[in-house]
Symmetry: C2
Subunit: 348 residues, 2 copies
């Protein structure tokens, strides 16, 4: 079995290109006794081709192992069936679900996802953006709503549909699928208040969205007439370790703490771990609320009360927005607030 020997290869050849010439639509067409155009139609609009012709083409495709060159198709039709997602990082399980759901939903519709990691900084986001735009994607999924003026400008100039995610703003670039971090913080604060907790604190990552939650939490506490919560910042991405250290530090400053809001479930796991090590009872002495509802939250000991955000839904909806726009169907609703839910478990 000599490796790249497709049926009916280019005769002339000797084009000193990188790889062996692959089977083209014309090759298939010749074998099927039709034109290249019919091959294209048989693949993209099978219902506009009579069954008999379709069968011949499919036979030829099977025989040759033809796989259409999407680069060529995309160039001509100006539809790449490529969608780019820019996320800060894949480390830490927050965006996994979203990327996973995005990939799946997109693949189902014949689109592919290309991944770009911007880091939490905006450093080389520019180079990344060029590389992405160069692929002429049919859509771009962004994390968050704060992007440089330059990013805005270039995105608009490229005319590529954009979906911002994981946040809310009255002025989206284009479409948006997210939720309100302020509303989350307020709900969590009310929950502590309801449970009679008055000496609160926050352990929060230092990224933009987490900090927005922290600030809103502090504001909400003051609004409810509680003492100003302590805020302990840790570097993103969060770890169990920083949760442990965070609680230790907080307890030093305010030993009578009775409620702590963690900006991720991983931090909350760290807090819980530290309470075990310290012999602090949860929720007796200390109530804990996390953020994310990672799969382990329900099985912790005690089970973790946390904020559930449906990351999969964000991915699926973002995919839907872009695919619908690309197919030229109804322009979907611009802003989708997917909300959130506090999952009541044992840690409060």
């Amino acid at each position: 079995m000599s490796p790249p020997s497709p049926v009916g290869p280019k005769a002339a050849a000797s084009q000193k290109t990188a790889r062996a010439p692959s089977v083209t639509a014309s090759d298939v067409a010749r074998i099927a006794g039709v034109s290249a155009m019919t091959v294209s139609r048989a693949i993209n609009n099978p219902d506009r081709v009579p069954a008999a012709t379709l069968a011949k083409v499919q036979a030829a495709i099977a025989k040759t192992g033809y796989v259409p060159n999407l680069l060529a198709g995309g160039l001509r039709s100006n539809k790449s069936r490529l969608v780019a997602a820019l996320i800060p990082t894949l480390v830490g399980p927050i965006f996994n679900e979203t990327v996973q759901a995005l990939t799946e939903a997109l693949n189902q519709h014949g689109y592919q996802l290309i991944l770009g990691q911007s880091g939490y900084a905006e450093s080389h986001e520019d180079a990344l953006l060029s590389a992405i735009i160069g692929r002429r994607p049919d859509g771009i999924v962004l994390t968050g709503v704060n992007h440089s003026a330059d990013t805005h400008r270039r995105l608009r100039a490229a005319g590529i549909p954009v979906v911002e995610t994981w946040d809310l703003t009255p002025t989206p670039i284009d479409m948006l699928v997210g939720f309100s971090h302020v509303a989350v913080a307020e709900a969590v604060c009310r929950r502590f208040h309801q449970a009679g907790r008055h000496r609160l604190a926050v352990i929060s990552a230092d990224d933009e969205r987490a900090q927005r939650r922290s600030h809103a939490f502090v504001a909400a506490a003051l609004n409810l007439g509680l003492a100003e919560p302590l805020v302990h910042l840790v570097p993103a991405p969060t770890t169990l370790g920083s949760g442990r250290a965070g609680l230790r530090s907080l307890l030093t400053q305010k030993p009578d703490l009775d409620g702590v809001f963690c900006s991720s479930d991983l931090l909350a796991l760290g807090v819980l771990t530290e309470t075990h090590a310290l012999g602090v009872s949860v929720p007796g002495q200390l109530a804990v609320i996390g953020f994310g509802d990672l799969d382990f939250a329900r099985d912790l000991h005690p089970a973790l009360t946390t904020v559930r955000v449906d990351g999969s839904l964000i991915g699926r909806e973002a995919a839907r927005c872009i695919v619908e726009r690309a197919e030229g169907r109804t322009v979907p609703k611009r802003v989708i607030d997917i909300g959130f839910k506090i999952i009541e478990r044992a840690s409060v």
Copy 2:
């Protein structure tokens, strides 16, 4: 600011294509007073263009906001600068690091990653593979070493460089970056034996690689003259919850268990959680070894002894293999065994 109004747009137009026509190399060329070819060279081989010309071209690029169409370039040059990664799932933190490192390393060299999720089953891996091959990627990164004969055949026919990862085999398709799951299991078993543990068990995911570790672990135990370890299988991807349930079930069958090997750190976390709930002392009554060395392992209470596999390194090396192959430099070593390490902490 009218949206898509690049400087010097196509005059005639009315091509009823999806998007506004974007700036092309010819547009830039006209403005810079050179030919399109020189624009191309200024971008791809800046050193083969005199400084004066380069400056003119760069000015024109800046003025127009030109972003080269990589679809067109890829079509003509037969180099897409696209690399595809096929992973079972992004859920669960195992492959995150690898995908993260892959993305970063690739981006650094001007390549983009496209992501495909095969699921742990081989179900629609075929459709996925077509979609991927259709993009004419310069390389494909596969997870594991067991792929259908059809996958092998098509990959060979397409002539695309392939890197298999996260496993070892004497007969790779092309290149490979991984480690031996059998060696891992044997080392872990020896470690238990060394610690004087004789009544062992395994809690393992039911995916192929995890099961290979389980089997090797059982074999190694018998070899060392220990009783045959109990094996408790849980569905992949693993969760803290299945770890808890797993330990409970195991303890029912064999209350005097003194060592358990978990096929992921998440399972180990579950086991640890259950020991807290049950009042079983670790490592006193029960020694625990995990797999993965996730970031939380070191901060657990007690800190988790576990097998560290450098997922980032796998990603970086895979990227290197493909980029070097694509640039036509030295054909890199075919098989890279990155090994593993047992990280000694408090749970044994």
